[in-house]
Subunit: 262 residues, 4 copies
């Protein structure tokens, strides 16, 4: 049976991001060829995400954020997943994709939540300290954690002060960075111990300083991590034996005893 | 700038697999609703892959193969990847996808290669033992392994004899199973030690008995593993703490010593 | 620099699902080899997800649900994604994984939500109709949709009645199916038009009849769709030209006009 | 049954890429915090892939290559896959992963192959033109295409001349760029028409100028594309209706006619 129906008259894809015609690729209106070698990757990332080239130092700030997220060794489940998958004999991009999937709610995901918490805190219109106290107390009362603060390994997270210093140098350390610090300052009073801002918290503040949509919170990780994933996949496939295996001897089994089919 | 160009007059998608119209879903011509509850999942898998419902016991054979591949615990990099990713807080289907990516060349991938080796062996037109010797010797001379034979943990792989018994019971133990055994029988002579058929080798023989395209060799794993992935992802997300981490103390680093920026 | 630290004394993986030792694979205590050819794929899925083999017809019900979800043609974004990716020249399992990722909140995701809605409705302890009215009204008041009811193409969704008939034949049409119908019955009164149960709603009811965790709602799709994905990937890679492209002429661009670098 | 076996005494992970300790993250020996804001993303990509910071302009060259690959609109199956998956309601990173999977053999994959062809051509030790003729003729005799030359839309591919100009400005336009041009120069003689170098061919030459492993050929795309994927996923999820669907009316079905179950 052959069934052919008239195609839709609407074009299937619609986009405001870029346009390809023979011999020309335009990104948000700019000729890609003009961008090559003249604009940094950070500028182009900012162009893609915000719709415009930086007016000032936004591209350099983006690069600093990408560098801050670029690598965290095998002490991250996403990297471990990429290496396991790589060991099974898959193409580079597929192994990186497996790692990327792992940038979940508990792994870089706090940037969105923190940015939203900052926005809600600011919307109260109150002075930073007062607003910060309200936000922190409301979270505590709801039995929830303050996203973007506290880190299981780093205390303080060394990337935070550096990112804020760079933001200052680049003229991008404004009200959101101040609000982020105000929240840190009230953690001891509210939670009984100082919860220092972690890299996700700092990225959330900078995301807002850059004027980007909070829904793009995870974008820094999604864009920054692939080089690290590539390095780990390559190392796994060139230095280690195929089919990484923990060994059946090293598995603790606590399920049902051996049994016969009923 | 708004650019709209006339849409193509060709329908974008073309398929011979199924057809959806309001109130009806037909798969290879059959009404999906009639299949529900009347045909096994194995029958429908066979229908999707071959284009027709089984003439005999092919669906039961498919089910036996799926059961044989359904679970191999955490002693498989694909499962480990799925669990790492799951621990990072991602939706069920995304964690399963990360595991699935790991069904690579070294992880179920031997089925395609073995099926092709069987086909090439058979194409010689020689008696099984003679043809098997030729194939094994040619691989050895090329410094390559015999795909589908040998297993790092199981010797023999207990799934093999059982799958062949089931094939026998179902009337599907034919020339390809015989050829697979002929190859096993010559391994000691050619490689100096007995290389027993593993589950991939058995699946390759059965794939050909079922008349399926060798390019579908990995299909058994791709279809059979998701239930195991689901169980592991669920266990990870309900029994373990989020963000599975090996601990920085347990990582061996053998890269460059600490150094200052140049 | 070589840094080696003593490994943790805890085994890295812990699982109650299965145990692999040389020559033996046990799934929830049962020997996998005994399961092959003796138990259906549906039984093994139920074993993996629930921890036990079916006491009655649960495995057959699982198979019916899997068949109901197995294929929905290219009228599903997940399948379209798998075909696009397949056209770019990737291994079978990677293309299927791309499709699988697409089983998101709007694509099979309603099963979890619906199952939770059923549970909350039942927890009121009120008669079905009364409880159903409360649930429907509460959703309407919150401006939310009733998950599991209504379908953009099928009205009614032909899979629903068939799945419930099969559940009846198998002795699994109990209180949750009744509650699902009670909810359908109040939709006209609450929402102003009849919203018929769709396949997600029916699967949610059956999930609860089977005693499975509502968090496994998406499991039916995750397990059932791979054969269809495999068929579509294979068709794409064997019947179509590589690198599926909509054609630059068919893209509507509505972004910024061409502009020069600032 | 609880089975616990002594853990392996070997550390599970071994890496030369980076080392995390409390308060410090070192990448190839350098303090990540020192890199933030002082080194470009391109420098850090080069550090991760090559093991060392650039001696000269390698980082700027990497940035130019990343910019060249950053966006190609919806005229690429990978982007289409990401948008379909995004429309189904999945997290940002998962949708990007689906797109990434699509950077397959026909989609950026030519970089590896072209780099290897360049290396083999150079290994002949013959003058460029003579060696190029040999390579091209050998491919033609084998019925194969010359990877990295020819493009379905762009003729010439505008990115090529620009990338080579930038390489020249940065002192990185050496023997591999010359060899790439020598190959282009012989295409008319060998294949009967001029096959112009495409962006993959140019990237392959630059990959070798940078001294990177040809196995990393796809790394430029894997690292460069995520910002574009992020922009498309965000646009899909903020501008378009959920569940992108081609519409059942627009599908051409050419499979079996409706038929009854046997």
């Amino acid at each position: 049976m052959l069934v052919r129906v008239a195609a839709t008259t609407d074009p299937f894809w619609r986009t405001a991001i870029s346009r390809v015609t023979p011999g020309e690729i335009r990104v948000r209106g700019y000729d890609l060829v003009e961008l090559i070698g003249r604009r940094s990757f950070g500028d182009v990332v900012y162009l893609l995400l915000s719709g415009d080239l930086p007016k000032a130092n936004e591209g350099r700030m983006v690069e600093a954020c990408l560098v801050a997220c670029a690598e965290h060794s095998v002490v991250a489940p996403s990297v471990d997943a990429a290496r396991f998958v790589a060991s099974a004999g898959v193409p580079l991009q597929a192994a990186v994709a497996a790692g990327l999937i792992g940038l979940g709610d508990h792994h870089g995901g706090a940037v969105d939540d923190t940015a939203r918490a900052f926005l809600e805190t600011a919307e109260t219109g109150k002075p930073d300290r007062e607003a910060a106290l309200e936000t922190a107390r409301a979270l505590k009362a709801a039995g929830r954690r303050l996203p973007g603060y506290g880190h299981p390994v780093h205390d303080p997270d060394p990337r935070v002060a550096r990112l804020f210093d760079v933001a200052g140098e680049l003229g991008l350390r404004g009200r959101w960075c101040a609000l982020a610090e105000a929240l840190e300052a009230v953690t001891e009073e509210v939670f009984g111990r100082t919860l220092r801002m972690n890299v996700d918290g700092a990225l959330a503040a900078i995301l807002l300083e850059l004027g980007l949509d909070p829904a793009l919170g995870k974008a820094f990780y999604v864009i920054a991590r692939p080089p690290g994933f590539v390095a780990h996949v390559h190392e796994e496939q060139t230095r280690e034996r195929p089919y990484r295996d923990v060994g059946w001897q090293n598995v603790a089994y606590d399920g049902p005893d051996p049994r016969r089919l009923p």
